[in-house]
């Protein structure tokens, strides 16, 4: 079975994000970029599946400018077998991403798609679900555990108040959550091999998907700075403040 792992290039999670002076978006110039951490977890899960004999090929795919090839190489250095780069010069919205990925799935015919539950830049949390819907496949979302046997998979989802166990049929789209695994570091032998692994580039046009934006960004602003809290002396003062100042009770 082949596993497809879509990976997104985002601002590194250690970077303090700054809004552009003209409020048109966030500053990306000279900012360290990295693979979306949830997608790293997806790559890791695919590699583990391959190592346990449950998959025979792991293909990573990324959509974006030429620099996305660096992100793909990171996936290859972790151990993925092959990369696909879909060249796109501007930001692609989740529905268009899902449509592009659907085309890739049609070409590649994977048995499973592992993808991060969301990207840490826009936090949309839509692509996996939309992809499953477009394909008419089963989906397991926010997955923190998975077991595959034959054409069925049991996934564990973290829900309010506990863990939900769901059985889904394959092929499926599985969006992965933080506690599924701890992604490995790229290994030195894989880093050295990464450049020799195949990386195909496809243009958006070749896939015949309309990726023109449907949304208009009006303004991007920093969240309002939080003001310092206060300490109350006792419960009655707290209740008084909640009742008369905050007016929430």
């Amino acid at each position: 079975m082949k596993v497809l792992v879509p990976i997104k290039r985002v601002i590194d999670y250690n970077v303090k994000v700054r809004v552009k002076a003209d409020n048109s978006g966030v500053e990306l110039a000279n900012v360290k970029m990295a693979m979306n951490p949830f997608d790293e977890i997806a790559v890791e899960q695919a590699l583990r599946l391959k190592e346990s004999g449950g998959a025979d090929e792991v293909v990573v795919v990324s959509i974006g400018p030429s620099q996305n090839q660096e992100t793909i190489r990171t996936g290859l250095a972790m151990g993925a077998d092959r990369g696909i780069h879909i060249e796109a010069s501007h930001d692609i919205e989740p529905l268009a991403v899902a449509k592009l990925l659907k085309e890739v799935v049609t070409r590649e015919n994977p048995g499973l798609v592992f993808v991060g539950k969301q990207a840490i830049d826009d936090d949309c949390n839509q692509t996996g679900q939309m992809l499953a819907a477009l394909l008419g496949w089963a989906q397991g979302t926010f997955v923190s555990g998975i077991e595959i046997s034959g054409d069925k998979a049991t996934v564990i989802r973290e829900v309010d108040g506990g863990l939900e166990h769901l059985a889904i049929s394959m092929p499926a789209v599985v969006t992965v959550d933080l506690r599924l695994n701890e992604p490995r570091y790229a290994s030195l032998p894989n880093i050295m091999k990464a450049k020799k692994k195949p990386l195909d580039s496809i243009s958006v046009e070749e896939l015949g998907v309309d990726v023109s934006p449907r949304l208009t960004v009006i303004k991007v602003e920093e969240p309002e700075a939080r003001s310092a809290g206060i300490k109350v002396a006792d419960v009655s003062e707290l209740v008084n403040k909640l009742k008369n100042e905050a007016k929430v009770i």
Binding site: T74, Y185, S187, K195
Partner: protein, 386 residues
């Protein structure tokens, strides 16, 4: 000229940096307080590095190493330099000199060192022989077909975790027109060998947890099979294999300076006094400008010297310049980083005071600044008959 890194080199840098930030930084305070690295902690780091295929990355592929060239290895060590030396010691980089192993030495020392099964330490310095290596008083004398070693070595870095030692001793004296000159031979000595004792060393102000030990040889009998290289060929193996270790000091200084600088830079942008960020005051901003200029200068000087080695070009002077400049730069940068922070920079809550203390040894070990200046000036003057 080409100053960019290849994709592989970029990945090596980002992987090692990420490892140091994630696996080493969180353990540093504990090691600093304990004054040593607990065995399990060291083993856990080592195992992760082995699993990543980064152990012994300075050794060639054909002996099981990572096959990095000098430039790539310098980049790797630069990133390791950010972390505590006591901990990054377990990101194993055995001494290259083990490549001189032959016959059964390969199976007994080289292979296990590369696999991370046995750790090595290098023993040259003696109480009476620091910069003057040839002044060593530890001797090996022939007894039957064997050697009998007597003497003391000290400042043996990393010796507390070593399973065997690469030891340089005097095996005779030659009379030369310049006076008597000692012949040196290199031996491989196992911990626990009769007549050989490993004793705790001194407490150092720099690199808490990264220990030095004292080695004592008393009528320690070793067979010829323990000689690394040739008998009386100690200087040859030293010059062939230990030539580049100064790059390690230089490049680790660059990494640590960059970490100290990042603290200062962030603080200058955040800390407000007199109603504005302190980075808006020229007294602070110019410090930052000078610090990064010196860090970059040291970085390029170091990488260029490693590159020269890879090209097979003479590099002795360049390596000496890199070691000299980077170690002195680190002293200035760590000092100024504290100055940017003010009083808080001296408190244990931040690692800046530690960087400052750690920086002190870099101008001393692996050849003092004065020895490096001697090497540089000799290299320049000799062709002119000076």
């Amino acid at each position: 000229m080409q100053f960019g890194l290849s994709e592989e080199q970029e990945l090596i840098v980002s992987t090692v940096r990420s490892f140091v930030e994630t696996e080493i930084y969180p353990l540093e305070d504990e090691v600093e307080k304990l004054g040593h690295v607990p065995t399990e902690m060291g083993q856990a780091i080592k195992q992760k590095v082995i699993d990543m295929g980064f152990y012994a990355s300075n050794f060639p592929d054909h002996v099981g190493g990572g096959g990095l060239n000098n430039l790539e290895f310098a980049l790797l060590e630069r990133e390791l330099g950010r972390g505590s030396m006591a901990l990054t010691h377990f990101f194993g980089r055995p001494q290259n000199i083990l490549m001189a192993c032959k016959d059964e030495q390969i199976e007994k020392y080289l292979t296990p060192a590369v696999k991370g099964e046995r750790m090595d330490a290098l023993a040259m310095t003696e109480p009476g022989a620091g910069s003057d290596v040839r002044g060593m008083n530890t001797t090996a004398k022939r007894a039957g077909g064997d050697w009998i070693l007597n003497g003391t070595k000290h400042f043996i870095s990393g010796g507390d975790h070593a399973d065997f030692f690469i030891v340089f001793v005097a095996t005779g004296v030659d009379d030369t027109p310049h006076g008597p000159k000692k012949r040196i031979t290199c031996f491989l000595v196992d911990r626990g060998h009769p007549g050989f004792e490993v004793l705790p060393g001194y407490n150092s102000v720099s690199h808490a947890g990264y220990h030095n030990v004292i080695l004592k040889f008393e009528e320690c009998r070793l067979p010829d099979a323990q000689v690394l290289g040739e008998v009386d060929g100690g200087f040859e193996v030293m010059n062939t294999w230990l030539y580049a270790t100064r790059i390690t000091v230089a490049t680790m200084c660059v990494g640590r300076a960059r970490r100290a600088f990042d603290y200062a830079l962030t603080y200058a942008a955040e800390r407000k006094q007199f109603g504005k960020q302190i980075g808006k005051f020229q007294g602070v901003s110019f410090k930052l400008a000078d610090m990064i200029t010196e860090i970059d200068a040291a970085d390029w000087l170091t990488l260029a010297s490693a590159w020269r080695l890879d090209q097979g070009l003479p590099a002795n002077r360049e390596i000496a310049s890199a070691k000299l400049y980077a170690s002195e730069m680190l002293a200035r940068v760590t000092d100024e980083a504290i100055q940017v922070y003010g009083g808080m920079g001296l408190m244990d809550d931040l690692p800046l005071a530690r960087f400052w203390r750690d920086a002190r040894v870099e101008r001393i070990w692996d050849g003092t600044s004065e020895i490096q200046r001697h090497i540089i000036s000799r290299d320049l003057l000799r062709p002119l008959g000076g």
